[in-house]
Symmetry: C2
Subunit: 355 residues, 2 copies
């Protein structure tokens, strides 16, 4: 629903949410929404035929019927319900989600998406990003891509820390995850259990992707700091091989096989590296952490240990962003454009501004 | 100058800055402003007769004449120069700075102040805060209180981290400073070198204040998270006594005398402590750090080590906030209302939005 209509009513009634994508992350977001006052899920969409027509409550595992049937065809849902915002969790890639986002915007829905490339979409496809922005402005809605990473740990948080720096020579951000503590889907995404050859083949065929978002995070940092990047060097993904047999609850990886992966990317300015991002996720990582080192005036050495739990945090930042997106001016936004992130701990309507 | 006037011009010319308060922090801010492109100091005010009529460059120690005479009487300066923003650093207390801020706003100046109580002024005096807000809106200017603490380390940063939490049971923030590494004025403010009796007498007579801002930080966190605080318990300031002789470059503290102090405050909700802030500054602190522990879903353990250098960071966040304040809607704002903090690394005009 457009923000410029029915302001008073929107301050009073629950915010109506459509869930677009009822996979693992979408389900976690849905379960969190159900715990928050002031939000009501009024519709759900998923492409999977197995989920079609089933009740959302059953699919997300809350053991009660929510009276919300999952639609395979978004247009059919849009013709039957009206909502304030769509929470979208279908794919990591901008080109895949673009038609879905267009359809949501055309139905006057604000959008928060976990699509990694949408966190800073200008580097994936500037023209698609520009179309989304224009259409969102035209429809008076706000579109945001967010998540724990990209969206927070390797971009928003270093940007926030830069706020107390007079000058900065280099920023290094690392995220190291022990994949043994994560779900099987995540372990598969990082190639755990494959041989080195299988890993390289599946990576080349894009059957596994690793972490998507280093490029977006670097571009967001550079934009926030007002720097002209010469280029972003995204290094080839490297497998991390198990040095001994390592195990998670779901999987056992023999010595010499792939335990996970290491990715890095560098933002280059004037021929020198200004930002370095390093992402490691593998079964058996001894120390899990998120660290940010700013070499500057002052220098800042920050560490979060253990690393922030990805799935819990992604569901959190999506739901916590709902009032911020509703309050924001219309258009395509990134995390650096919004007020500081913060937890929603009361009725979501409490955080809405009168426009 | 009001933002609604001369937009095009303001995007082209340097932003004109008035410096209100040329003490230690004001001088550091001024030196940083001189390093940034797009900013020009056009006037300076200081109450001290020793600084009156001297050139700002000489007083702040940059060894060149800036062609900016320091005025004792603000009104006299305002009648001769026009500016976009005032950077204000005179006192920690809202009641002291209130008439100064009123005068700045009445001259259509945006204001960034290091006044600790202004970082979240509603808990010092809600009526003065409300007057400032109304007057700022009337004059089309924005007023912000900020600094490293309050303003960042014990409020904005925990608020930002809460953004990836689904629920929070408790937040604990600690700042521990080795005062040996700080300037003499800071060492005096925390009572270093006094006997315990002298410390208690000077504290009672408000001749030393310790850190001002724990109450503001707690109130800002609660407001950002949408929580109704039952009360804020600010504990009496405790001296930390030297266990052996400890030294800084400026001062030597014998065993048994005051090396510094410890302060704490608690934000209480429904009869239980939701936020705990602990501030320690003393000569000889072995480990300097800023830590944030969130007991929640997920829990977050964050540490910055060594602690962020206070003076460098305060000058930084004041200057880095200039474009954000110029871009913000008019009125009295706090850090939680603005977009995420970020470093100004290029011409300040680059960060200005076309309104």
């Amino acid at each position: 629903m457009r923000r410029d209509l029915e302001e008073t009513e929107s301050m009073r009634r629950e915010l109506k949410v459509i869930l677009y994508g009822v996979g693992s992350i979408g389900s976690q977001i849905a379960r969190l929404i159900l715990k928050k006052k002031g939000l009501k899920i009024v519709g759900a969409i998923d492409a999977s035929p197995e989920k079609a027509k089933r009740d959302l409550g059953e699919v997300i595992g809350v053991k009660k019927n929510l009276g919300v049937s999952i639609f395979q065809d978004p247009e059919k849902l849009f013709s039957t319900v009206d909502a304030d915002i769509a929470v979208h969790a279908t794919s990591s890639f901008l080109r895949d989600v673009y038609p879905q986002l267009i359809s949501l915007i055309e139905h006057d829905l604000n959008v928060i998406s976990t699509c990694e490339e949408l966190s800073y979409p200008y580097v994936a496809d500037a023209s698609l990003a520009s179309n989304l922005d224009e259409l969102a402005v035209e429809h008076g809605v706000t579109v945001l891509g967010t998540g724990v990473n990209p969206g927070f740990l390797m971009d928003t948080l270093p940007i926030v820390l830069s706020g107390v720096c007079q000058e900065i020579r280099h920023i290094r951000v690392e995220r190291v995850i022990d994949a043994a503590k994560r779900r099987l889907q995540f372990q598969k995404k990082i190639g755990a259990g494959l041989s080195r050859g299988e890993f390289e083949k599946m990576m080349a065929e894009k059957k596994i992707t690793g972490h998507v978002g280093l490029k977006q995070s670097i571009a967001m940092i550079a934009d926030a700091l007002g720097l002209n990047l010469q280029r972003i060097d995204v290094k080839p993904v490297k497998p991390i091989l198990a040095e001994k047999t390592v195990k998670s609850r779901e999987i056992s990886v023999d010595s010499g096989r792939v335990a996970g992966l290491m990715q890095s990317a560098h933002g280059i300015i004037d021929g020198r590296t200004f930002v370095t991002l390093v992402f490691k996720a593998y079964i058996g990582a001894e120390e899990e952490y998120d660290s940010i080192s700013i070499d500057g005036t002052p220098s800042i050495q920050q560490k979060i240990k253990p690393c922030v739990h990805g799935d819990l945090a992604t569901a959190a930042i999506v739901v916590n962003s709902i009032p911020k997106v509703i309050n924001a001016p219309s258009g395509l936004k990134t995390m650096k454009d919004l007020p500081v992130p913060s937890a929603v701990m009361d009725d979501v309507r409490r955080y809405l501004e009168a426009h």
